[in-house]
Symmetry: C2
Subunit: 233 residues, 2 copies
């Protein structure tokens, strides 16, 4: 609702992947229909079972896509950063959401009704190719993740999650601190383990000088070693 921060004239700069392929006319059409929303920290963006209606492009902040499993345990499936799109898979598959989305931290997002996207897809193949490519990449990542989460041991899974967070959200200026601060519980849900085991394994990594922890701040001290641990499982 705070379009002021993201003036219409510049919207294209914030959603380049779907804006660039469009013709002038298509851009005008899109510009008429998008809206800007803000989400508070920990706010739910959509829930499992809901009906998908909008393509969401994250302009600012960090989002988790997760799934409630058996016995209250939840599993983080993927994470979203700046300029990434989500919320559209279920619509294309003609299903309700099988995952939920929530904000790790305060977020701003651009929402575009899926009907509008469908209209654009009918006339613009380059846009269709964007979605085909994106879905293909995500499917590869998901397949990879299935094996990693099922076959690796705790240390391997946690090491992998730390590297995953580094790749997803990068490091701070010191080139070693993860620029996302997660609760131990979220870290556990990302790594398919209990909170206790996330805490314990994190402490072990710290005493082995592979990482350094200061509350929720995590410094990666020995990335090669993390890679090795992640690789051997």
């Amino acid at each position: 609702m705070v379009k002021s921060d993201y003036p219409d004239a510049e919207i294209g700069a914030y959603i380049p992947d779907i804006w660039n392929p469009l013709s002038a006319q298509q851009r005008a059409f899109l510009a008429q229909h998008y809206t800007i929303h803000k989400y508070k920290k920990n706010e739910t963006i959509y829930c499992e079972g809901e009906n998908p209606s909008h393509l969401i492009c994250l302009l600012k902040g960090k989002v988790k896509i997760y799934k409630e499993g058996v016995g209250g345990r939840s599993q983080i499936i993927r994470v979203i950063k700046n300029n990434e799109y989500f919320g559209y898979r279920a619509f294309f598959a003609e299903e309700d959401f099988v995952t939920a989305a929530a904000a790790f931290e305060p977020c701003t997002a651009c929402l575009i009704p899926m009907d509008i996207i469908l209209e654009l897809l009918k006339e613009n193949n380059e846009l269709a190719m964007f979605f085909i490519k994106q879905l293909s990449k995500d499917l590869g990542i998901s397949d990879e993740r299935t094996v990693n989460l099922t076959q690796k041991h705790i240390r391997g899974r946690l090491a992998e999650s730390l590297l995953f967070l580094k790749d997803a959200y990068g490091l701070e200026e010191d080139e070693s601190t993860l620029s996302i601060y997660l609760s131990r519980e979220d870290l556990a849900n990302l790594s398919n383990m209990t909170t206790s085991n996330a805490i314990r394994t994190l402490s072990n990594f710290a005493s082995e000088k592979i990482i350094a922890i200061d509350g929720r701040k995590i410094k990666l001290m020995d990335i090669d070693k993390l890679r090795k641990i992640s690789k051997i499982g």
Copy 2:
């Protein structure tokens, strides 16, 4: 190479999902470039790390898509049946294969070079929508599977695999025998467990009269109970 069994004139009937959206001209173009291949039982169709080049439509037989994990264990990611397409994800993502494919039983497939598909995609949006929808469905299944394989216990995972095989390949005329005969090892690889545990759990199900086993033949005797076991994990 045995086009005889699948005469050119009828090819459209075998690959309807991508044939129907095409114009007459596009169909002619496609007909010029497809080939028919046969695969023997257990033959590898493609390997992890290879470069994807063809869209494959399975005309006859059953195929597994799997991934070698840590320590020689392999994980079956999904299975393919008649009239389903595979082999294209990696191409669209511009990656090498992250999975491998092999024939469960003797197979016949129609291969179409991905370049040809790309050409057709440029001019045909309906075809693009087919891939968007298919990839979206597969991604949902993959996400679902990640949670099922990681959070459920052995009995839940095996029950789920049996139901999964029923949905994928159906039952024989008796309405209860799975119409695919897998080795215990494949069943284990599908369910993320060791072969011993697959054997053991299968025996347990049999003594509980939930299934009946006769070699590799598996009869589902109490599907409701299987669903319940799968659900509670």
